[in-house]
Amino acid sequence: MKDISSAIQLIPLEHYILLCVTLFSIGLMGVLFRRNTIIILMCIELMFNSINLLVAAFSAYHSDPSGQVFVFFVMIVAAAEVAVGLSILVMMKRNVDSVDINLLNRLKW
């Protein structure tokens, strides 16, 4: 545990923050602009994982274990969420035989 924390601290904190913000923005742009629902699910996962990385880095720098516990919670919740999301996707695919998000336009205004 001590070794890992010191290994993480070899790289300056700013680099972690920049990396995570970049990953988060890639995920965000993916959710906003991609039309394929499976890719959107992947982008949401990317956003969650960038947050995990960020919290883990902060936790090592503050030498505070609660951040690492938080990462576990986020991982569990993300797994549960993707399970539900994929099953919703399968249900949708059965009804319209497509995973294109543009089909979601029956309900508006």
Binding site: I17, C20, F24, G27, L28, V31, T37, I40, I44, M47, F48, I51, L54, V55, F58, H62, D64, S66, G67, V69, F70, F73, V74, V77, A80, E81, V84, G85, S87, I88, L89, M91, M92, N95, V96, L104, R106, L107, K108, W109
Partner: protein, 457 residues
């Protein structure tokens, strides 16, 4: 805490009753269990017990909100007996998922740590994604479910990013410590904390459907099965606002000036969008969705006017709003059945001639939502305005009153349709239980307005 654990066990019991094919006793068991949970919550009153290293704090605020949510869930389950009678399969899962969502709501009212807030929001949301897609063969339900899921997890990601940034700056998830950390800057926060707080507020505002983040709510409300819509419009909204209030009160107040301005703009926008959006709706569920957004605006007004009585006003407003909304959805389902599954407002025509007592009850309920005295909706709105004016927020209060006047128009539009003479397609069939529910809720809405002016916290 015993109420929380008991509710989780209750959900599992209901789920297993479904496996054993005991459909007839599902709703009675669920309702009896919720009554026990209600009793267990009452027993914790005034103790202020803390659990898990102060991660959960059951103070009177959270117990009062839990009790109000349990009561509303019992009403919804009573409605469910009739609603699910025709549905053969997977009824137990529906009840169990709603009970699990309720446990998430309990966590959201009683957290004192951002981890628990996050878990509560997710335990509330994930069952709702499934419930919204409850009608598997209907594409509208699929669409509602997927939209809710996608935007919900997107908002969760933004919310988590905010938590990560705040944690990075303050090295803690515990709200009182975050409050001390913020206070030491005297309003000039470092940019990282500012962005983090903004993202957290965006995440919570999304869950309560406040204005720039409300786009999912009309679609999801329209597409979901009606009983789930009733659950979302009442219990989920109450839990969201309790969480929002606790977040502000325990951790973030006094907010830095830019964030406070952002929240005020959000309140104004919510009032504007909710009330103006409702004007041109022809679908009753969408109308109620916009009305829910408009009510969010009023509740935010009460929440932002910081005063010791804010929590009381918040509880009264959400409870009264829920009491009026659940029977409206029951009446809507009765009319929908009688008019060949149409959901338009014009289907309410002829209701007065067909079943005059339902029409009278519906008038009372809609008047309460519009805020006409002597209904309790008027008392709730009155208290919100008194509170916000006494805290010196004069301009936004005047704006909110104007918006309430606009609100009267679209609620009375529905009342006009109810009293318009027309021939209903089929006779309206009311079971005794549904009739009793409608009458009891209408009476409660009236009597609460006359006799009870606030609820204890």
């Amino acid at each position: 805490m015993s109420a929380l654990i008991f509710t989780i066990v209750l959900g599992i019991i209901v789920l297993y009753l479904g496996f054993l094919k005991k459909k007839a006793i599902l709703a009675p068991v669920a309702i009896a269990g919720l009554l026990i949970a209600l009793f267990l919550s009452l027993k914790d009153w005034g103790l202020g017990s803390r659990y898990f290293h102060d991660m959960i704090l059951f103070d009177n605020f959270s117990i009062a909100f839990n009790i109000s949510m349990i009561i509303v869930t019992i009403l919804i389950f009573l409605f469910g007996i009739d609603y699910y009678r025709m549905m053969g399969l997977h009824v137990a899962e529906q009840y169990a998922l709603m009970i699990f969502a309720l446990t998430g709501a309990f966590l959201m009212t009683s957290y004192s740590n951002l981890i628990i807030l996050f878990l509560g929001i997710e335990i509330l949301s994930i069952p709702l994604y499934v419930l919204a897609g409850g009608k598997k063969a209907s594409f509208r339900s699929n669409e509602a479910s997927f939209k809710y899921f996608m935007l919900g997890s997107f908002a969760t990601a933004i919310f988590l990013f905010g938590i990560a940034l705040v944690y990075g700056a303050s090295a803690t998830f515990y709200l009182p410590e975050i409050k001390i950390y913020i206070a030491q800057f005297n309003g000039h926060l470092p940019p990282m904390v500012m962005v983090g707080l903004l993202f957290i507020l965006i995440g919570v505002a999304f869950k309560v459907a406040a204005a720039p983040f409300h786009f999912w709510s009309p679609d999801v409300y329209e597409g979901s099965p009606t009983i789930v819509t009733a659950f979302m419009a009442t219990v989920v909204k109450t839990a969201g606002f309790a969480a929002f209030f606790r977040l502000l009160g325990m951790g973030l107040l006094p907010l830095p000036a830019p964030l406070e301005k952002a929240l005020w703009v959000m309140t104004g926008l919510t009032l504007l969008v909710g009330n103006l959006g409702a004007l041109k709706q022809t679908n009753f569920k969408r109308l109620l969705a916009y009305s829910a957004i408009a009510h969010s605006g009023f509740i935010m007004l009460a929440m932002l006017s910081q005063h010791s009585s804010s929590a009381k006003v918040l509880l009264y407003y959400t409870f009264v709003y829920s009491l009026a909304t659940v029977p409206l959805f029951i009446i809507f389902i009765l009319v929908k059945r009688a008019s060949d599954w149409q959901e338009e407002l014009v289907n309410f025509r002829g209701l007065f001639k067909e079943k005059s007592w339902i029409a009278v009850c519906m008038t009372i309920l809609l008047m309460s939502l519009a805020g006409i005295p002597p209904s309790s909706g008027f008392m709730a709105k009155y208290q919100v305005f008194v509170l916000s004016i006494s805290q010196g927020n004069l301009l936004i209060s005047i704006f909110a009153i104007l918006m309430a006047v606009i609100g009267i128009y679209y609620y009375f539009f529905v009342i006009r349709e109810v009293f318009t003479e027309s021939k209903q397609l089929n006779p309206i069939v009311v079971t005794r239980l549904n009739g009793a529910l409608i009458i009891v809720c209408s009476l409660a809405v009236l009597l609460l307005g006359v006799f009870v002016w606030n609820l204890p916290i």
